[in-house]
């Protein structure tokens, strides 16, 4: 396999920093001496991932020291690793753009934004998982290490610009996710979920590999940018086939209908904190992948994939939100709602305009907080009562005002009720869609939001409206609220911060919008696509 590297996007600093790795690797490239000079590993770009990796190794090591040491030391190590990763990502924001690993990874602003979402979702999922893992009697260190491995894969996926690195990171994320969903070894539903996920996920991976090999055959390159150029020059029917395969993988990862079949079962069977990560972190990585592959690589098939994604978005919004109406389990309801939510984000993807991409980033960030806030609440409820049934929430207002308030605000935000953050994100998506004349998508989005308000508010109705005598048995025997148990204080921190950001973040959301627009403006890949879209519109 031959790596190529384009000269024009190279900055001068790269030449002045010959690194050891570059010199070692250069021996393989004797055939092209002019390319030799421009070679640079630029490993600094993956420093945040390095922190996550170190934290993962650290947790594995303390896990060796026994159960007690692990539950004592694993949390601080994870916080430190993820915190350092987020810090490094913030520092990376303004550094000049420079491809690393011979064009296999690119830390552009798009990648940084999505990596931050993934890392933050892991951090919050970890905060809410300690108590849950403790209660289920599973080793904590192992759990944290696997979750960090999934994060590593997800973060690398966001910045991968080469078919090989895409596949490697995708598999890292997937394999870790299979392990996580089967983590409750004694629960047969968890094992079932893991097996289902594994089978469907492997099929998706195989399909992706097939598509990738077709792409390599057409363009004789694995670099996405070069594949894009090759496809632009000679769009063959074979490439359309490759597009379908690649699209299927993306759709599987973001759980778009009709590639969603695994979601409800996996979400219901998996441990709840894992579901929290899968529904946010894994999905964010999937959307980053969609942008890289479809926008960056299939520019030549712009109309085709946009049409396909329009269909997927309409199906996801309708089916996700309609089927959620009929669910009696909280986790299944949130699973279907997350399918619908992914449908909303796809509106931004289909637009292909500046606002479209920015609204995707805004909505993913908003979704991170409101969805994880909702998960924090249902985890706390299930820790205290052991139940995930919606009907068991009846009358909770009397016994646990914090969960009631938090869950209500997060669900209202998911339903797009002002002044929560979800309203602002959704409005931005719809504005972008309408401005790009995606009338069908916007109207379906609006109608299904109303449907979603119905099932979100029926949970709130269950908690708030029921009289004390109508409360469920579970709520009637609700344990006294106390926060002293191990693992509960971090859960409380995560819950309160998510709910606060959901409730107040909307009113103060201007910096978020600013950030998302900067992210889009600072990403050459997206700028090229936007230019292409505007040119087409003018023609």
């Amino acid at each position: 396999m031959k790596h190529r590297y384009s000269h024009k996007s190279l900055s001068n600093d790269a030449l002045t920093m010959p690194e050891m790795g570059a010199i070692l690797l250069s021996t393989q490239f004797m055939a092209a001496p002019d390319e030799l000079l421009s070679l640079s590993i630029n490993a600094g770009a993956v420093a945040p991932e390095g922190c996550v990796l170190l934290a993962m190794l650290g947790t594995l090591i303390v896990d060796l020291a026994g159960e007690k040491a692990a539950s004592r030391w694993a949390p601080p190590i994870c916080y430190a690793g993820l915190g350092a990763a987020l810090l490094l990502l913030a520092i990376q924001w303004d550094t000049p753009l420079e491809p690393s690993f011979l064009g296999a990874f690119l830390a552009d602003k798009l990648a940084i934004a999505f990596r931050a979402v993934v890392a933050l979702s892991t951090l919050l999922s970890l905060l809410i998982s300690w108590r849950y893992a403790e209660q289920s009697g599973s080793p904590v260190g192992e759990y944290a290490a696997i979750l960090l491995a999934a994060t590593l894969g997800g973060m690398l996926l966001c910045g991968s610009t080469d078919l090989v690195s895409v596949f490697v990171s995708l598999e890292t994320l997937s394999v870790a996710s299979y392990l996580l969903s089967g983590y409750m070894k004694r629960d047969s539903r968890s094992s079932e979920a893991a097996l289902k996920y594994l089978l469907v996920g492997s099929a998706a991976a195989a399909v992706f590999l097939y598509g990738a090999s077709l792409l390599y055959g057409i363009s004789s390159s694995t670099n996405l940018q070069e594949i894009g150029i090759a496809l632009l020059n000679s769009p063959t029917p074979l490439a359309a086939l490759a597009l379908v395969f690649v699209l299927a993988t993306v759709a599987f990862k973001i759980a778009a209908v009709p590639f969603h079949q695994w979601t409800p079962d996996v979400y219901e069977g998996s441990p709840t904190p894992v579901v929290a990560f899968l529904s946010v972190g894994s999905k964010a990585a999937g959307f980053a992948l969609a942008l890289r592959l479809l926008v960056g690589c299939f520019g030549a098939f712009d109309e085709q994939w946009k049409l396909l994604f329009t269909v997927l978005a309409v199906l996801s919004m309708s089916l996700g939100n309609v089927v959620a109406l009929a669910q009696s389990s909280m986790k299944r309801m949130l699973a279907y709602s997350s399918i619908g939510q992914a449908g909303f984000v796809m509106i931004g993807l289909v637009c292909g305009t500046e606002e479209g991409f920015a609204s995707m980033v805004v909505y993913m960030a908003a979704y991170l907080f409101m969805n994880l806030g909702a998960f924090a609440c249902i985890i706390l409820f299930s820790i205290r009562t052991g139940s995930d049934q919606i009907s068991d929430y009846a009358g909770l207002y009397q016994k646990d005002p914090l969960i009631t308030l938090g869950l209500s605000l997060c669900l209202l935000s998911l339903g797009g009720i002002p002044p929560m953050i979800g309203f602002f994100g959704k409005i931005y998506l719809f504005f972008a869609g309408w401005a790009d004349q995606q009338y069908l998508l916007v109207i379906v989005g609006l109608v299904t939001s109303v449907i979603s308000i119905y099932y979100y508010i029926s949970v709130i109705k269950m908690m708030v409206v029921k009289e004390p005598q109508e409360a469920s048995e579970v709520v009637k025997t609700y344990p006294p609220i106390q926060w002293k148990t191990i693992g509960l204080p971090p859960l409380r921190v995560a819950l309160i911060s998510c709910v606060l950001i959901t409730a107040i973040g909307g009113v103060l959301s201007n910096p978020l919008f600013q950030w998302a627009n900067n992210a889009v403006a600072g990403t050459p890949l997206l700028q090229e696509a936007i230019e292409l879209t505007t040119q087409r519109a003018l023609v």
Partner: protein, 513 residues
Amino acid sequence: MDASLPIRVASQGSVPWLSLIVLLPAIGALLMPLLPKEVNSGSNLPRNLALGILLADFVLILGVFSNLYIPQSPELQLVERINWVPFIGLEWSLGVDGISAPLVVLSGLITLLSAAASWKVESRTRLYFALLLLQASAQGIVFLSQDFLLFFLAWELELVPVYLLIAIWGGNRRLYAATKFILYTALASLLILISGLALALSGGEFTLNLGELTDRSFSGTIGILCYLGFLIGFGVKLPIFPLHTWLPDAHGEANAPVSMLLAGVLLKMGGYALLRFNVQMLPEAHLLLAPALIVIGIVNIIYGALNAFAQDNVKRRIACSSVSHMGFVLLGIGAIDALGISGAMLQMISHGLIAASMFFITGSFYERTNTLSIPNMGGLAKVLPITFAFFVASSLASLALPGMSGFISEITVFLGITSQDAFTSLFRAITIFIAAIGLVLTPVYLLSMCRRVFFGPRIPALAIVNDINPRELSIGLSLLVPTLVIGFWPRVAINLYEASTNSLAEALMRFTT
């Protein structure tokens, strides 16, 4: 007008009065959860806090509008514009003109009285008053917002408090009524959002500022489509005939103070938005579709009245009479002249006061009889003479007795239609004739209800009840006195908005020539 200019400019730079008016209740709502939990049962602290805040807010509204607002000017005053989220065109943009001012005063008064009437709310008082205050803020923003998105945000924001107010403290079928309310309103707001977006994105640069949108002209299909979208969207709130079915349920099931709020303020949001968007922003489409509005208005009047006959529940009967009375608002808006629009405005103010007072009195005797079913009642007049007097007075106001505000507003609407030369005389004659039938029907169903409730054999529940207490008396008087004052001296109200409605009618006239 020149003299007013310095004041307006000065107020722009100094205190943001309008923001204070709309944010004060919201701040109060945020304070509610901080009150000690013991007060949840029995203590009056949440109610007193809410009452204090709403009273302060009402005084603030009166003070600002009497000192800083110049009713003679049709222009937007006390304007505040702050960029909020520029990426979606959201601005904190408030301003008051003649169409907003009277409705803000009305909603301030009704909300205050509805909080005062919430005497019997004993469970979850903190939540109840927090929702009431939140609702007060949202409705204030709806009436004062000069940015479409801010308007829409407030319009949606009001959904949840009202839903919970009906669903928690309502009657037996409260969940059904609340769900019906939220689904109707949420579906309607889709059309509002789509129409607003379509307007903002068509014809020039993207803007959501209402003033800038008004200055553009939207002609042709886009104007008409958006007009219809707005009409249906706001028509659910007003309500317009086939979209009204949520109203008898919601008004009938909510407790009396919430019904006061629903009838007194929420319906006016629909009428206000019709004036602000359909008439002011889309004059061409309005001129085209005005006859249709008149037809719908007539259907509303007659259908609402006939429907009221069939209701056995006092509150449902009053709710149906609301449908009938809001038909006059449609009629006035459809008359496309200064008199008609002025009549529509006055009808909104007058109906807000009268309907609130009827719901209030109903609530007050419901507390004593524990039934609202007309066949189960009777003989209240002997035991509750003052309640009886109030109820009859409100009914007379509602049936447009001369000397009450309803008379003035309905007669103005009629005059507006008769003096509109744009319609053929046959159309005008038929309109007046059918609407007059509606006027005749109103006394029939209202007075027959009075007879059945207050006369006849006394019901057992009345054995040991006391008549109206001073608190209730003062609330009732606060609603009836303005009705009488407006009835005898309508200038009090008309002066507040006349400049704006005249300029609105002038703008419409410009398009006819």
